[in-house]
Symmetry: C3
Subunit: 246 residues, 3 copies
């Protein structure tokens, strides 16, 4: 894949004005760069589960991709704005742990604090006023020195490499965990919502109503219920704990 | 209308990653072809009502349009992937009945089984890994012989020409049926949700709270409630049966 | 900002076919003009609160922007279609009050009735069949004389300059009012949902669970609850009254 892209990873929702205004800024600053709406329903205001989701989905995109990442409960406070380069991809967003796993999984990441400031900066919408202009300028090839300066970010060494929690409920009600499939024995069982859950390859391999786990198309362990919704059947929500029987 | 388009008809939802990843693939494979998001909330996992909805809405698009259609509960099983040419439009998606009505209503449809395979094919997301690359390649004008070979699809002769069921609940709560308006006497009454429903031309022609039916802007019989939601007022959902008093 | 844009302000929703068909028309009529999806969840069928929301958000866009605005409960009745030029921006939509505040806040607005008609005009979807083609033609620079003729619109002198009601609930559950922040003393208290609400600058400035008001990034008075949803905590919905203690 060789086309430059800007990818949106936010908790803004789609129907209201936030994503639209960000898109309007990007069209103005980087009119020829396609914008891919990846997540608009990342865990709202929760950078920790969002960090595991982001790291898993960002790796699907080619080097050079600019990811505009806004899960930002501290907007308006003193938290910094960052640019992160990790595995050839650029991340733009708040310094609140959102990039912890992308940083940890990259060989030689580099981090900058955003020093560029817009003519007008609202207190509540840095996604539109600060992070989107930066993402557009990066995609346009503006030199980093005009935008940011090297910095040591806040790190979260206490966060695990894989998170044994639900980090996202998808459109079908499937529950994505913060566990990478590569670290889990293919025969392991999970415990979630009071059920013991066996692995299966596909929906059609299990009876109707059965819960099962598999490694999803982005490498995360995902729990599904054939013909049903995991969130309802297991009472799962973002933050629900799961345990692994090895 | 002369501009080539790729049209998405799926049950992927918009806010999560599925539609975004499909768009990313299409941008890479067919960067200059506009992508129109038509339905992201087609009947989830239900190819039969989806087939009536698809046939009604596809006909609004010009010849040459490529429709990427994914309502695919059997993903990962042995079901085939198809390319269908019907009335000059191209459909890409699973062989599970989704194209039954488009096929039936076209004069000389042609059908191919997708033989092209991507370098990596996930078990659970053929929309992204198989169908999107095929749709992009078709829109780019790649020869069919490089992608697919002629085949006889699974047909569903027991499915009626018009379906007396609700096939979609729209954003306003209106209930779209699988009945084409052209086959219904303009004075017919419907029975749905325990109510007898008369025809009317527009919302403003009936009292507040009244249910009525009309032929919608894509030719389907639709039930609405002035100032209310049909799904709540009549307890309608996808699959709810209706009857016609001729 | 110098790039021409078409901005969508509707109550169509995103997942179903309405926004997609409008986009398909715009791609055909004005293929090189970016389309920004601003609101797809404007107050459904309620032009009055929508008018305050539109006026606040339109002013963020540069002169020359074409806003396609459809909140149109009277579609199919005799209500007229309008083009409004106000403060250099062009608005296209129904003559039902939706443009009242944009008109009132502009120095020398001009208004035209749409006289152009499409080859086929459905009774229920003027957004697709009439307003989208007009918006595309305006963005393409077609002369106004080919589309519309000057007219005096219906005005609503009884509507206040600022509306002390909730006009929108956003993705986070925050409640936007029809009050502009510039007209409210920065120390004023609001009463809404049985609570007395003090001002604060940002979420991080108030305790968890506390409701507060602030001037949002588009100049409207907005009520939020730190760590919660205002709509649930205060029982707020579009149309809920608020009062101001000066």
């Amino acid at each position: 894949m060789g086309v430059q892209m800007i990818v949106l990873f936010t908790d803004f929702g789609l129907a209201g004005p936030y994503t639209g205004q960000v898109n309007a800024v990007l069209h103005q600053v980087a009119p020829d760069v396609p914008v891919i709406q990846l997540f608009a329903d990342a865990p709202a205001g929760q950078p920790k589960p969002a960090a595991y989701l982001l790291a898993a989905y960002a790796q699907w995109f080619p080097a050079g991709t600019v990811l505009l990442c806004v899960v930002d409960p501290g907007v308006g406070s003193a938290r910094r704005g960052l640019i992160v380069e990790a595995a050839g991809r650029f991340y733009v967003g708040p310094d609140n742990g959102l990039f912890e796993l992308a940083l940890r999984r990259a060989a030689s990441p580099r981090i900058w604090e955003i020093t560029w400031r817009p003519p007008v900066l609202s207190a509540s919408f840095h996604g539109r006023d600060l992070f989107a202009p930066i993402a557009g300028r990066l995609a346009q090839g503006e030199p980093m020195s005009a935008l940011a300066s090297r910095v040591v970010p806040s790190r979260h060494p206490d966060w695990p490499d894989d998170l044994a929690q639900i980090v996202y409920i998808d459109h079908y009600g499937n529950a994505l965990t913060g566990l990478r499939g590569e670290g889990l024995p293919p025969t392991a069982h999970l415990n979630a919502g009071g059920r013991r859950i066996a692995p299966a390859q596909t929906f059609s391999a299990v009876p109707n109503g059965a819960a099962f786990w598999y490694v999803n198309s982005n490498g995360l362990v995902e729990i599904a219920v054939n013909g049903g919704r995991t969130d309802r059947a297991l009472g799962s929500a973002v933050g629900s704990e799961i345990t692994i029987e090895a």
